[in-house]
Symmetry: C2
Subunit: 326 residues, 2 copies
């Protein structure tokens, strides 16, 4: 658990839910809209047309979270208290403002816009991976109120943490066990099998696959994986950003059209960058539509009830007409 | 993942949310209201005043789920498919109808009503624990739409599973590791420490403690633990049901008053009944208020941001005036 009472100051209250209204292209009160750059912490990265930092003219802009769950200004002290252990919440928590347009969403962006977004992810990932301070960097996106968004303006988030969380350690360990047993990467084997079976394939290009994973825990869950083996997101070469932009937009657009702009989270799962090049883990992006509520059944049993088989989800998503414009 | 397309027939649609309206005491269209017993599968247990099964006159009634996530009518076959493994969804999925009154909720029940409810839990737990078929039995309750309820009439659920889920195995293993290291039960040690510290204590009687756990993942999370060591819920003696009813109602009532009838899940965590008497695990009931949305941060990092420290939650809950009537 991360205790973060500062975050109670965020523009969000218990029980309050954002309305599913249509937003304007520009909202003068939005801290992420152009002209309001002074309302956020100073930018740490931006793609812009030569204009000065923290002024309008940017296409993508990265700032520290104003209400960070983790903070730079701590030592990362670890201590014990009775039988418990705790540490200061040290780390980085950044916001990637995805577009100057207030009501933009990646599903409807041009390829160049998605490329800018992914370039920001990639550059921040590589920058924060320097040195041993943050063994793990997690990049994610919350779309819509069911997915936990507190601000309408399109944005992603990045966490750089000194502690590798338990569920990531578990996944890394299981992948390593598979490699020890089989001598191959479980994700590479999975892709080989899925290409042969076809039933769960949703989208592909020369560099990436988009699949509805076998035994998906959520209806319309999708994974995007690089077809060549790469353990860490940082191993993606710069030329890989355009095909990733293409497949990410393609998958999000299919979900958008089929399910009428569903709420979702996506998360980039990556090995710690210090272990880049290792043979057993394989970075990928998981898209998790938020169509159902996690209830006592899932919480108590850890098993997820899924009412849409991934083969059915994949077939429906494949049949969506997606225009090919940039 | 449990694939359960039958459950798509349930009275619930994607994206639909129940309104937080006040319900009547009786709803002629509700399958759980007295007089509509024929609309559910036949009862497997009831507490009633001598009337015939599947007729009115019951106080608590247990039936198989009409849309079970797991089914009795399968062999539990396990097989492989490429690199995947799967098995038939065998098991029991029961519904405990908690009261004949349509708009009753445990927080406002009499002690006798909560005792009836817990008696039903306990009897079904013991009955389904006979023999090796179901190593694990999970009892849980969903209160309100944020917690995933699809029916307003008060009910709990029970799952009897042939597979011990991964997160339960993990907890059991961690508790065993603590016992191997320390020679004591981690939950017993935790209670000793919490009684001494007092800051996170919310409620107590001679047999149980109600505490806001250290490093709670959710605001106002509460745990109820038996003060004597018991690994399995089945080890609770019948005389323990009344003090459990008292503390469960006390905790739920404090949440109800302080947070204005919040949505919540609760889950009974227990060791497999076949390991009853073992020294390292300790059954307990976890109450999880659903005040916040699990977003990309939590999904991606596995770390939970909690904006209310358990010490603050405990202090606020202790200060709630709770009437002492039965």
């Amino acid at each position: 658990m991360i205790l973060s009472p500062e975050r109670a100051q965020r523009p969000y209250k218990f029980g309050e839910r954002a309305e599913s209204i249509s937003h304007p292209e520009y909202d003068p009160k939005c801290p992420f809209c152009p002209g309001n750059e002074a309302e956020t912490p100073k930018e740490v990265f931006a793609l812009r047309d030569g204009s000065a930092p923290d002024t309008p003219g940017w296409r993508v802009r990265v700032v520290e979270n104003k209400f960070p769950a983790l903070s730079l200004n701590r030592e990362g002290l670890r201590a014990t208290y009775g039988l418990y252990r705790w540490m200061e919440g040290v780390g980085r928590h950044e916001v990637i403002i995805e577009s100057p347009i207030h009501n933009r969403t990646p599903a409807l962006m041009s390829i160049d816009e998605v490329k800018d977004l992914l370039t920001a992810y990639h550059r921040r990932y590589l920058e924060l991976s320097k040195g041993p301070r943050y063994p793990i960097i997690i990049i994610f996106r919350n779309q819509g109120p069911q997915a936990g968004t507190s601000l309408a303006h399109p944005h992603s988030q990045l966490i750089a943490s000194p502690v590798v969380p338990r569920h990531i350690r578990y996944d890394l360990k299981e992948a390593e066990r598979y490699w020890d047993d089989q001598g191959s990467c479980v994700y590479c084997d999975l892709m080989k099998f899925e290409v042969q079976e076809r039933a769960r394939l949703v989208s592909k290009n020369d560099d990436f696959l988009g699949i509805a994973p076998y035994a998906s825990t959520l209806p319309y869950e999708l994974w995007i994986l690089p077809r060549v083996h790469q353990a860490s997101f940082g191993e993606l070469p710069e030329v890989g950003i355009e095909p990733l932009a293409w497949i990410l937009r393609d998958c999000l657009r299919r979900l958008y059209r089929l399910l009428n702009n569903p709420d979702y989270n996506y998360v980039i799962h990556s090995a710690p960058h210090s272990t880049a090049g290792q043979p057993h883990y394989h970075w990928h992006l998981e898209i998790l539509p938020r169509l159902t509520t996690r209830a006592g059944f899932e919480i108590g049993s850890g098993m997820y009830i899924n009412i849409v088989a991934p083969e059915v989800a994949a077939e429906r998503l494949r049949s969506v007409q997606v225009e090919e414009e940039r």
